[in-house]
């Protein structure tokens, strides 16, 4: 008997997180790739923090920040009538922060690879900065977007500690695949755990294989 709720929840969470991070990460990565500001290393370090912090530490701080007693959590509660902690919205906020480097770092690298020359060429052809960004920088870094989106999606599917801290383990609401597997193992329901774990393994492999295949096909055109 397969329980589809955790699967659907994981897919929804990863999709929403990836879309949010495309919106947030693109301008941030662009700024990091272009700036000569002395704050650049500070922002880079902050962006990379989720890579090194244990998920429980990150989750702990997020739990405190998102709780209805804290300003952010309180604001959300009055705005929507729902708490951020132990809710899907809270999971999205936590995942966006947790997966931030997986979006920003490949994008920043891709933008830096575009280099100064095509940007200056576009400016010399009367293209304003936003025009140049949309018509030159974005298409020239399409591989970076593919890699960043897949890494973000996969990393969000795979998260455990932060989700558990912020969202708990509420079936149908915050119980994603990784937590469902944990619960099945705890309850010695190994066959259920096998189905979810095996499914996730196959899904991850197929996704990555598709990306690397597509990446190879894209190379001669975009590289």
């Amino acid at each position: 008997m397969i329980d589809f709720a955790p699967i659907a929840l994981s897919l929804a969470l990863a999709t929403v997180t990836t879309l949010c991070l495309l919106l947030i990460g693109t301008p941030l990565a662009w700024w990091l790739s272009q700036t000569r500001s002395r704050f650049k290393p500070v922002i880079e370090a902050v962006t990379a923090l989720p890579l090194v912090l244990p998920p429980t530490v990150l989750g702990f701080y997020l739990l405190i920040a998102l709780s209805p007693n804290a300003p952010i959590g309180q604001f959300w509660l009055t705005l929507t009538g729902d708490t951020l902690t132990f809710s899907f919205s809270g999971l999205v906020v936590a995942s966006v922060i947790y997966s931030l480097p997986f979006m920003v770092q490949p994008l920043q690298a891709a933008f830096e690879r575009v280099g100064r020359m095509p940007m200056e060429a576009a400016a010399s052809l009367r293209a304003k900065p936003l025009d140049t960004f949309l018509t030159i920088a974005l298409p020239l870094s399409s591989r970076g977007f593919l890699v960043a989106s897949v890494l973000t999606f996969a990393h969000t599917i795979g998260e455990f500690g932060v989700v558990l801290m912020v969202g708990g383990n509420i079936p149908g609401r915050t119980q994603v695949i990784s937590i469902a597997v944990f619960e099945h193992v705890e309850s010695l329901e190994y066959s259920q755990a096998h189905i979810l774990a095996g499914g996730l393994l196959v899904f991850s492999f197929v996704t990555l294989l598709a990306v690397y295949t597509a990446n190879r096909k894209l190379t001669p055109h975009v590289g």
């Binding site: 010399s124 052809l125 018509t135 975009v222």
Partner: protein, 358 residues
Amino acid sequence: MDLDLRFARGGFELDLRAEIIGAGVTAIMGPNGAGKSTLLRLIAGFETPQSGHIRVGDTTWFDGANGQHSKPWQRPFGMVFQGDALFAHLDVAGNLAFADRRAKRLAGTLTLSGVIEALELGPLLKQSPATLSGGERQRVALGRALLTRPDWLLLDEPLTALDRDRRGDILPYLREALRAFDIPALLVSHSLDDVAELADHVLMLSNGRKQSHGPVDTILARYDVETADGRRDPSSLIKARVTRHDAAHQLTHMEIDGHRLDMPLMDDVGIGAWLRLRIRARDVALALERPEGTSIRNILPVTIADIQTDEDGPFGHAVLHLGNTRIRARLTRASIHDLGLKPDQNVFALIRSVSFDR
């Protein structure tokens, strides 16, 4: 173009005042690190001067006094970059259209089809930049720059990246386009031959400062420009008219001041066209009487205008007049002494080779 620029970065300083004539081609020359490319980048607005001004016609592109600084995309210039600046994700047609779309509403006679025809880009339109040769790439880049309907063209060593054989892919097009579309241009170049062929004026830079500025023949004649290996290699620039192509002997006949000069066939240049030729001083010898039975074909009757000798070297230099044309010759001091050469003397110049190499 009225330039008054002060710019410093990382130990390099540029301090330049120059009034660049708004017609024809002005070549910017000078040794590596003289600030040639930096000057173009300042004019384009990719770098900002610390002070000074850039005025073009009635418009001000930069004025340090009141903080006015128009952005690169607001300045009406077209640029051909030193490296490969074509957009890799667009084909040739896409690269041209990028410029054309954003400048279409500007007045002028220049059209997309006109540029494609003039630069013979038709067969390349569907190709990706990656599949083009270096010369073809620069041709597309030139077409793209022209399609911005620029008031000025900034050409940053458009020929340097190409090996000698490939220069023919772009040089004639560049020469024709500059003439046909009649847009004033600043051309950064290392090559005396390119400058001799393309430029009307020369701005010579050294260490970020103006060394000299004037018509190409006077500047190039006055300066013993150093060759790439550091030797001084004086030469003369002369204007000559094409009179005939002799296919049988593979020669092109030219005329200078009523006298004939033969050079290797260049049948892509029309009869009656004026060309600038460069003659190295070391390729010119003198004879007191018109020599008979010599293999040298180019013998011109000249008058010695000036003659100077190095006190401690083996050589001396003579300036020869052929009508209004000045030709420089490098001779040994011993020959000058033995032949008794002196100013106002009528002699014959034997020219071993005329360069117009492409």
